[in-house]
Amino acid sequence: MSNHLISETDLHAYVDGALPAARYVELENYFSVQADDAERVRAYLVQNQAVKAVFRAVLDEPLPENLHALASPPARAMLARPFLARWSLQRSAAGFVIALLGGVAGWLAHGQDSPPESVARLTPLPRQAAVAHAVFSPDVRRPVEVDAEHEDQLVAWLSKRLGTPVHPPRLGELGYELIGGRLLPGNTGPVAQFMYHDGSGQRLTLYLSTENASNQESAFRFAREGKVNVFYWIDGKFGYALSASIDKDELARVAKVVYEQIERK
């Protein structure tokens, strides 16, 4: 018998069913001679069951309305909060630096136990676009904030919020019709998302940001985030990203049409 090889971790892994199958017999042999540990493990097993039993009822409680509502994308006002907060921080640069240093100092002071939430991290364009696509395109109830029937209002609203004229490209010749659009928080300010669908219900989104500070241009680039394919390019302060869970070649075809229409303007 190899009792000296049984560690405290093994005892807990036994309780939690986390041991390799071969070791259970070994542990049970050990318990037959180590009554104290055997009793302790029995108590922990009961404990696990009791904890689950006590809180099981919570799973069946009807959800309070406020929590139920938060399963859907919240209204504009709430999503707008973080970038407004960030914007006002940037207006007072000193305040921003102090906050940042404070955050870092706080993190260092508190050691390793709690990793900080990242402070003002910049997310790359294709990733922002892919996440926005993955979140909103499956939404049946509220995929867009303003629908295509009110395209005039949509264009006026998004242009005003982005501070520059924006128009959804026409993709009808490729079989994609506009569903509508929404405003989203980007890294430092608002960004726009237009959504399209084809006859089969396949959805495609165009993500448009105006926060590219470095003013360079880029060729077409391709990225993949999970199941979402993204073509994106930078033009001056504008960043464009076209996302869909469709074949790369087909997406490239659409991206080319989008690009041509935008360049013509």
């Binding site: 807990h12 404990q47 904890v51 009822a57 709690s114 199941k227």
Partner: protein
């Protein structure tokens, strides 16, 4: 992340928060904060990755923030006036109350690990990754938390255990 996937996670978030905080209203507030922050930080979610783990880590961070905040002195309102039925059967209420209050006697970081294991059946490595602590720390918190809980439930004063 679509609405139905998120909706499906809410009951588990509520259950865990309830066990962690021992208070219904405070727990639902924490869940609400978690969901709001999740929507605001969507960009940090890896498409196709484990939604539950991500939500639990957000909740953990918010909870740690709460613990660090200095507590305002408050006056407790008499609970009798606002009694809310929490369970359809109250027969085992005494036992329930005992375990709930015993859990509240655990140090916060031990209670957290015990609940993630017992309630959420999260693996030790997943907990280590989520909390950003070494696997050995997870095990020592689990070990101490379980033993302390056992002693409290047995009606014994938990003793300080000398480790090695």
């Amino acid at each position: 992340m679509d609405s139905s996937a998120l909706l499906a996670e809410i009951p588990r978030l509520r259950r865990y928060a309830r066990a962690l905080l021992g208070d219904r209203a405070a727990a639902d507030d924490l869940v609400q904060d978690t969901l709001e922050r999740a929507w605001r930080q969507l960009m940090q979610w890896q498409v196709g990755s484990d939604l539950r783990a991500w939500l639990f880590s957000i909740m953990h961070n918010l909870w740690v923030d709460q613990l660090r905040r200095p507590v305002l002195p408050t006056q407790a309102i008499d609970g009798e006036d606002f009694e809310v039925p929490t369970r359809p059967t109250q027969a085992d209420e005494r036992e329930v109350k005992d375990l709930e209050s015993a859990l509240c006697l655990l140090p916060d970081e031990q209670r957290e690990v015990v609940l993630l294991v017992a309630l959420e059946e999260m693996s030790y490595t997943a907990i280590s990754a989520m909390l950003g602590i070494p696997a050995g720390t997870v095990m020592s918190r689990l070990s101490r938390g379980r033993e302390r809980l056992r002693l409290i439930m047995d009606g014994q004063q938990p003793r300080l255990k000398v480790v090695r």
